[in-house]
């Protein structure tokens, strides 16, 4: 009897967990299919299937532009960070030198900076470089968190590669650069994909820098666009359109996270737990 009760309670708990997790997004999807006065009614299930919100969003040049901006910026900053991080992580993971531990701590420390602390300084730097209100402002400033993150995670992965393969390569005459490019990288590409993906998601979601370093609507990234989406008047928020935009932006992310579930969990825990 108690086993049955335990099982019921357990599955009830599971139901609650799943429900709470999924409901907000589900509700956003429902809302996105409503327009006009339908929005003023509270519905728990899909009553209509009106795609006009989606058409509105997809045909809005500024919104699509912001998607493109986000893709460009996130892709560039992650690519740049990964390129620097691959060689740096080799040095930090495989070469013994004085102060290595301290250096790793410093890099970790940078990722703990509150972003607001560098906002003023970055603002000056970006103005001085003349890249204010361009994607470059974000590509540059995002490095402050993509670089330490990728270095940290890749260092953990590099450490786990077998020593003897590296020694065999050394005997074969491989220089450190050759070891990285021809021996380690082919072995590490799952880790690279995971790290890149996590860093991409982080860069995609960034808000503070994107908000501060852009002035015109055409330069906005997706988070800023969604945050500032407003209607004709200050008080009228186009909830249906907003939800449609949210869904459009979120579905690919959810899909990515679900497909790469295992790898993402491994990447997060490598950085968090093992470290």
């Amino acid at each position: 009897m108690s086993k049955f009760l335990n099982a019921t309670l357990f599955y009830a708990l599971v139901f609650v967990i799943v429900g709470v997790s999924v409901f907000p997004f589900y509700y956003a999807v429902i809302t996105s299919f409503k327009t006009g006065t339908a929005l003023f009614e509270v519905d728990y299930f899909i009553t209509k299937l009106d795609f006009s919100n989606y058409i509105n969003v997809l045909s809005s040049p500024n919104f699509m532009r912001s998607v493109w901006n986000s893709v460009l910026i996130a892709g560039s900053t992650v690519g740049f960070a990964m390129f620097l991080a691959v060689t740096a992580s080799y040095a930090l993971a495989r070469v013994r030198f004085k102060g290595r531990g301290l250096l790793l701590m410093c890099i970790l420390a940078v990722s703990m900076f509150p972003q607001i602390a560098v906002l003023a300084g970055l603002f000056e730097l970006i103005r001085a470089l003349g890249i204010y209100n361009t994607p470059w402002a974000m590509i540059l400033s995002y490095t402050i968190f993509t670089l330490p993150f990728t270095v940290w995670v890749l260092t953990t992965f590099m450490r786990d590669l077998p020593v003897e393969i590296e020694e065999a390569a050394i005997i074969d005459g491989a220089t450190p650069w050759v070891i990285i490019t021809q021996v380690f990288l082919p072995l590490m590409w799952p880790a690279l994909v995971t790290t890149g993906l996590l860093a991409f998601i982080g860069a995609w979601n960034e808000f503070l820098f994107a908000l501060t370093f852009t002035a015109s609507e055409s330069q906005r990234t997706v988070p800023v666009a969604i945050a500032l989406l407003s209607g004709a008047s200050e008080f009228e928020i186009p909830w249906g359109v907003l939800m449609a935009a949210s869904v459009i932006v979120t579905v690919p992310l959810i899909a990515l996270v679900l497909i790469f579930q295992r790898k993402i969990v491994a990447g997060l825990t490598a950085g968090g737990v093992k470290g």
Partner: protein
Amino acid sequence: MPSSPPTSMSSRHSLSAQRRCAAMWFLAPMLIALFCVAAWPLLRTIYFSSTNTTLTSLYDGKWIGFDNYLSYRKLSSGRVIWRGTLADPAWWNAVWNTVRFSVVSVALETVLGLIVALVLHQNFKGRGWVRAAVLIPWAIPTIVSARMWGWMLNDQFGIINDILLNLGLIETKIAWTANIETAMLAVLAVDVWKTTPFMALLCLAGLQMIPKDVYEAAKVDGIHPIRVFFKVTLPLIRPALMVAVIFRMLDALRIFDLIYVLTPNSKATKTMSVIARENLIDFDKFAYGSAQSTLLFALIAIFVSAYIWLGKVDLSGEHSK
């Protein structure tokens, strides 16, 4: 053949010298990049905090020392007026909001995350699906979550009010995000919803590292599952848990996005990051905002140093290899 002098680590052609040289070249670009993007701007912010720079004339600031932090002026009437962010009640309100938010959210996320992890740790049908569902809040961008929940918490048309009214838990519709008493609750709800999956994942990883025979031994000994949890499981995942809690705490202390979008301009939820940016950009009190940014940085730096020093956390893995 004359005996050679003892070789030292500085031999020019040996393997370790070659590797160290390469390591230097590999690290240099990254370090330069980090300096430019992190160290330099931080120093500039600290510099600005001791000037009277404005947003519009970034290079015309004059040095005013500690004034942005704390200064006092003696009036002709003999009264002393304290100025500066350390004497600013709005600042301390922000500090209190930040601390309040961090402690509560991290505590809730840890407890709930642990519960979810324990559920996911059990072997049951459809576990994969449940795990996928649990990851969804984490996958949704913060801004999107903020607006989604903003819609759900809407006082007029929000579904939360609808549910609560129907369940008889409230009598009138509540303006969750606008009302000073409930704004923090709203923020906490969204943050906990968003971040519990992350904590759950870390806890799960910690749980999965516990060898099964420990539980089997406990089972054979007939120990009650709750005792097993507190006496066996919890101590074994404590290291992983501590790391997770620290990282989350640091994140919570610097929160900006959620509050800016969900409860803008609310005295009850304005955190240090929010108020600093407000001063920096919106009010054009650039130097003042820089001082506040610096204070937040100092707080986090102290927090991190204290933890490392006290816990001697081996984060760099130096001792394991």
